[in-house]
Amino acid sequence: MANSQMTRGIVSGRLPAETIARNFSDLHAPLDAHEAAVASDRCYFCHDAPCMTACPTSIDIPLFIRQIQTGTPEAAARTIFEQNILGGMCARVCPTETLCEEVCVREVAEGKPVEIGRLQRFATDTLMAQGAHPFARGASTGKRVAVVGGGPAGLSCAHRLAMKGHDVVVYDAGPKAGGLNEFGIASYKSVGGFAQAEVEWLLQIGGIDVRLGEALGSGLTLEALRKDFDAVFLGIGLAGVNALRAEGEDRGGVRDAVDFIAELRQSKDLTTLPIGRNVVVIGGGMTAVDAAVQSKLLGAENVTIVYRRGRERMGASEFEQDLAASKGVRILYNAMPVAVHDGEIELEYTVETAGSLKGTGERFRLAADQVFKAIGQVLAGAPSGVRIEGGKISVSGDGRTSVDGVWAGGDCASGGDDLTVTAVAEGRDAAEDIHRALIG
């Protein structure tokens, strides 16, 4: 008999293929032309617009929306890509409710912001569907730059350097470029193989050589890169994960949420992906929500997020918490894991006093045949010699590390939120700084 949501253990095929397909379709469907016309009409073309300030890549939002309004979404896309070459992905994954849309004057006045993210997608999709790349490479400078890591930070840096006429080699440890765009972002935010399509589109600029399966630390060394190249950019993200420090953590059924999501993102047929009947996700950020929601969409009967602090401290935005709730995920606040048992997890309630967190001593158990750890990623594989500060590569200004000729940006570097758009901004700004340093 086929499996159902009630089947015990960790099994695949809990839901019929059609249901799975529906569950994993676009979270926010693209706007059609009429919807885009109505949505763009709402923008006031604010002066020194708050949305633009809130965007880490400072996209000229009023201008691109006006360009949509006046029937030139291609020009709108150009406005976006000039600031953010991954504007297509950002339109899908940015938590706009805590960025541009949060400060939209319409949000303040009416509680309903201009739909900036969806309009951005309308514009970028229009231009990308035409297959053309909007920028041309500058005249060759003869300078060579190594970019380590092909995630948003690395790709953005490489593209800007290529635009300036430098020759770029991108080294990535993984089997595909894109970083977490390819392996991390929730499936329903980036459907239809968009991440790889975007990488290919971005590389049309030319002058970027991508070498996959080459890792700094195994084979590549910073010393060698510094010798062979005029500059080095590190965009290696956060490849390690924190430990749970709970008894039984090494049991079967306990897994990193990021690994689970990567497997899910790479799965060709989601009906073959096993998932528990009772899933518990430990953590409070975007990764926790994504793991929980996608578990539910795969057909888990009960999914609970366990977060050790209160609701207001949760990293996931209110929108994401609501999304989880609407998919049937339960969020348990002020509880931490103590031990993992067979088919159960033991938890303890917590209180936070003056910033420090303590168990109350009251313990309880939840059914759990699968436990996902989403308690934060950590820097791994940073080359020795670069100064580390607060667990990240210490950078100043536009991404300069403590080592001469070496820049860093994105999740691996200090400062800024761990968001796709922040990584893009940091990669771009580092490229500008590298260019200034190389060309003077």
């Binding site: 032309a33 009429h34 016309a37 009409d41 709402r42 073309f45 002066h47 009023p62 201008l63 006006r66 360009q67 309004q69 006046t70 029937g71 030139t72 291609e74 020009a75 150009r78 406005t79």
Partner: protein, 434 residues
């Protein structure tokens, strides 16, 4: 990318977007910021003659008309020409032109209708290095009571006379700015040409009252309980301006006279329409006053995208492209038959087309109990009203009946031949077909 550079009566600018003579161009601070934002040129706020500065009202100068969501559609003003001293303006014009040699700086002038007054000011303007002058014969309020502005612009003989004085007393190109507050716009344009003007620009503002305060019964804007007619501009006046530009462009007496198009230009598309109807460039006031100098960026990107897509490689190549298609009603093809078509997929079932056609037109749209709206070809006269009231762009369109098809309304077979009113059997004046 398309070449947007513009050469208007020998005045060069990197794009055809100039700021019209008005508050945006009233001082150096503004004009510098406008040039930094990308404007191709400016017509400096109108200068008057030497003497005690002009006095403006100290209450509200503007009234407005809004569309849905408070979008500003029409602006009305009772402002006069510059109220800053002549020598300050001249000094600033000189400084700006020195620092922005690639931008157009044209100076608008309005002095009394005496040759001496023009002779006195022209050399001083010339000395600033400005690229040209624009004669403000258009202001409909305040100045016209003093025998200037529209008071001159409404008398073609005066236009010709002043234009001639200016041509005789300066080497700078002379642009005559026309008032729309006149019955036939071709008359002042012909006069400007006869006086030797290099170009005309139009329109200045239209006499208007934007509203009445129903508590105090004061016209708006209200100055201590009283109001005065002002000059109307902004998106609402564009259709009037387009027609006037086209009238001059297709008048055989003024054919070839360069035109600077003004009135409601808000987007790249508005600008392209003015160019197509014969304007060599455009001037903008209200759009900048509503949204700030930055809107020029959309005008530039939009115009160049459209030119690239359509293969137009220069601005000059677009100018006047629609002029041959502007004709008189009597020459329109009466054998061109269309019917409204409703795209049922796109229809949101609001029923506005039905109300419009049923109540006020030809009862050619039916409504089913489940709100399906359909056009009855045997009643549809193709008036286009349903298209115009439909909130969804592209949902209702007009489809041409192919020649050979029978028009169910008239029962006649559509002819492939062109036939207009001048030869129509119902026309008592019709000339014999043979």
């Amino acid at each position: 990318m398309a070449d947007l550079s513009s050469n208007f009566v020998g005045i060069k600018s990197p794009n055809p977007f100039w700021l019209a003579s008005a508050p945006p161009t009233d001082k150096e601070y503004n004009v510098r910021r406008a040039f930094e934002a990308g404007w191709g040129g400016v017509v400096w706020k109108t200068l008057g003659e030497e003497g005690p500065p002009i006095v403006n009202v100290n209450g509200p100068r503007y009234g407005a008309i809004w569309g849905a969501d408070r979008r500003l559609l029409g602006l009305n003003n009772i402002e006069l020409i510059t109220d800053r001293p002549l020598e300050v303006n001249l000094r600033e014009i000189k400084a700006v032109k020195r620092d922005y040699p690639d931008r157009a700086v044209v100076v608008s002038i309005m002095v009394p209708c005496e040759e001496a007054a023009w002779k006195a000011i022209l050399p001083r303007v010339e000395e600033t290095g400005a690229d040209g002058i624009e004669l403000n014969f258009g202001c409909p309020h305040g100045m016209s009571e003093r025998g200037m502005g529209a008071a001159v612009g409404q008398v073609p003989e005066y236009i010709e006379m002043v234009a001639r004085w200016c041509k005789a007393n300066t080497r700078m190109p002379v642009i005559v700015k026309l008032t729309p507050n006149i019955t036939d716009i071709r008359k002042p344009a012909r006069a400007a040409k006869a006086g030797g003007a290099d170009a005309v620009s139009l329109i200045n503002t239209i006499s208007s009252i934007t509203g009445v305060d129903l508590d105090s019964f004061s016209p708006l804007p209200s100055i201590d309980g009283k109001g005065s007619h002002g000059g109307y501009c902004g998106p609402a006046v564009k259709p009037i301006a387009l027609n006037m530009v086209a009238e001059i462009a297709r008048d055989s007496e003024t054919a070839g006279l360069p035109i600077s198009g003004i009135g409601g230009v808000t987007t790249w598309r508005d600008a392209a329409e003015f160019l197509a109807l014969g304007a060599g460039n455009v001037q903008v006031c209200t759009a900048a006053m509503t949204y700030g100098f930055k809107i020029v960026q959309e005008m530039i990107s939009g115009l160049s995208q459209w030119m690239d897509e359509r293969g137009h490689d220069s601005v000059a190549g677009i100018v006047g492209r629609a002029v041959p298609n502007v004709t008189d009603w009597q020459y329109l093809n009466l054998n061109y038959v269309t019917k409204a078509r409703i795209d049922q997929e796109a229809c949101i079932k609001c029923g506005r087309c039905f109300a419009a056609c049923e109540d006020t037109s030809h009862q050619a749209i039916t409504m089913s109990p489940d709100r399906v709206f359909e056009v009855q070809d045997d009643e549809c006269v193709a008036c286009n009203l349903c298209v115009d009231v439909c909130p969804v762009e592209g949902c209702i369109t007009m489809e041409q009946l192919e020649p050979g098809v029978v028009d169910p309304r008239t029962g006649r077979t559509v002819s492939a031949d062109y036939a207009n009113w001048t030869t129509h059997p119902n026309n008592p004046m019709a000339r014999a077909a043979e």
